[in-house]
Amino acid sequence: MGFWPVFLALLLALTACQRSKDLEVIPAAPRGDALRGLDLMAKHECGRCHEITGVLPAPQSKHCVDCHRDILAGKIDAPPDVLPQWRAAVAPLADRLAIPDAPGHYRRAWVERFLLDPHDLRPNLHPMMPRLALTPDEARDIATALAPADDEHIEWLRANADRGRALLEEKACGTCHLFTGVPPLPETPPAAVPGEAHLAIHALAPDLRHTRDRLRVAALIDWLRAPYAIKPGTPMPDPGLTARQARDIARYIMTAPLAPAPEPVAEPRLPVLSRRVDYEEVSRRVFRKTCWHCHGEPDYGIGDGGPGNTGGFGFKPRGLSLADYDGIASGYLDEHGERRSLFAAGPDGTPRILGSLLARREEIAGRSSQSLRGMPLGLPPLSPEEIQLVESWIAQGRPE
């Protein structure tokens, strides 16, 4: 065999090898019923927080984000001593969290998993996606509605991950984004953005670790090149990238080796306090501070006691008010419409309400219970001190 045929054969083999590294095929995840998915999004009131094509926004009295916007715009009357606290709390939650009207944006499998077991996508944002009462089939249907196009043929076109990393640093993406699992991205001092606006930008930036599961590559490249075209009004700035630069960054984000996610810190369970804990204290530090927003008193809310009381987000009315002592002592409605005590012991002897608080810790650690929904819904778990307070109050016989 002559030199040239061998040479050409080797050259073709090398090219094919390189090309195979540049090509990836990701098959579509199993498909559900997209039309049913749209109905489910209406039923679960996704429009209270999200803008989604095909899903009506929630009415004004139930629209969470619009209420937050009204607070920030000074349209809600509130005592002057609490208004600054309200403003600080709602500033990161004044974005309508638009789901891009782009069929190929998300990966369906990730959406399905996220709906069933939400994880902390935006670590700088205090609240997170609540864990709704969805069956796996329902999650699949919603995922199909949000991600109808799912299979992907990726051509990297020699995108270079090392260049991508350098660009991430140059563009100071680390100012807003965490990227856990890779060497930390440097931050630069934020541009002069008014305090509340900066809070919002910083809070909404997702951890880039999840991007490879969450977005399709083409969608990421499109996003990097023109975020406003995909989501008008997004706080993501236009990084001013060429097509090649966008591919380089995308390749880094999608393929950089990731260190395993750190194990969640096991929070201690503090011993019951020996000093007296009365209702006023536990209400001020826990129930009214955290729980009341969803478990309110309907008689003072024009019949709306929040999703945890009169129902919402697809949850049945549970009749559970945590707004006052009577409400807590009145328990909740079970699946059969019968009243149950919040202090009834579970299989391990833990009072029901305490079990829910501890279950939230487990959810954050990736160990969601099928029998108990963690509380507070969509918020970080209560601190060990707050749980200790509730547990102490219960152990002392729930003093008024």
Binding site: S61, C67, I76, D77, W86, A89, V90, D278, W292, H293, G296, P298, D299, Y300, G301, I302, G303, G306, G319, D324, Y325, D326, G327, A329, S330, G331, L333, G337, E338, R339, R340, S341, F343, A344, Q396, G397, R398, P399, E400
Partner: protein, 216 residues
């Protein structure tokens, strides 16, 4: 944090005037027009409820009467704020053993007046329970009220005992009433259990150790 719009269409307030006599004269100015006014009833009733929970029974009653001066004749199913007001008034009447006196509109001086106040409280709490089924707080209140009248003791014991079995008695006074009923029935163990719960819940030990209220 709870969004509670502080606006009401004044026409609704004007229509309600003949029934209860709204306290604020500003609502009268709109004649047949529609005018947005600030709702001041809700925070007043909330303050009255707070006073009740603090044991300030007369203050609670005065607060209710400022908003609903004709509360004695208000139907239970009219609205949620009215229901709140009725409940506050009923509990205040029960816990004063009928001796609730608040201004010109409410008297509890003579034996007849006290008895009438207790009867009114029982009737009102029955109506509230009918309008809002499976509400342990209303059931507890009814049990506490029934325990004030000899002929209603059996019913009171049934209500409060049933709630206690499910750990759904919502007040120390409810457990105190249960303790008295069980004591009268000769149930020592049950009495001790109810007293123990009362003592762990009550802000003031006097709530649990009060002797049985004179039957009316």
């Amino acid at each position: 944090m709870k969004r509670n719009p502080l606006v009401r269409v004044a026409m609704a307030a004007v229509l309600a005037l003949p029934l209860f006599g709204a306290a604020e004269q500003a609502a009268l100015a709109c004649e047949n027009g529609v005018q947005i006014v600030v709702d001041i009833q809700t925070p007043k009733i909330a303050r009255a409820e707070k006073a009740l929970n603090e044991g300030k029974l007369t203050l609670a009653a005065v607060g209710v009467l400022q908003v609903f001066p004709h509360i004695r004749s208000a139907p239970a199913g009219l609205g949620s704020l009215t229901a709140k007001a009725l409940r506050i008034m009923a509990i205040a009447a029960v816990r004063t053993d009928g001796a609730l006196t608040a201004g010109e509109q409410w008297r509890g001086v003579t034996a007849e007046e006290k008895s009438a106040n207790i009867d009114w409280a029982i009737t009102t709490l029955r109506a509230l329970n009918k309008a809002r089924a499976k509400a342990p707080s209303l059931q507890t209140d009814l049990g506490e009220a029934l325990a004030k009248v000899d002929k209603h003791h059996a019913e009171a014991l049934k209500i409060l005992g049933g709630l206690a079995d499910k750990d759904l008695i919502t007040s120390a006074q409810g457990y105190a009433a249960l303790a008295r009923l069980r004591e009268a029935a000769g149930d020592k163990e049950g009495t001790a259990a109810a007293l123990k719960r009362c003592e762990s819940m009550a802000k003031s030990p006097g709530v649990c150790r009060a002797s049985a209220a004179p039957s009316v």
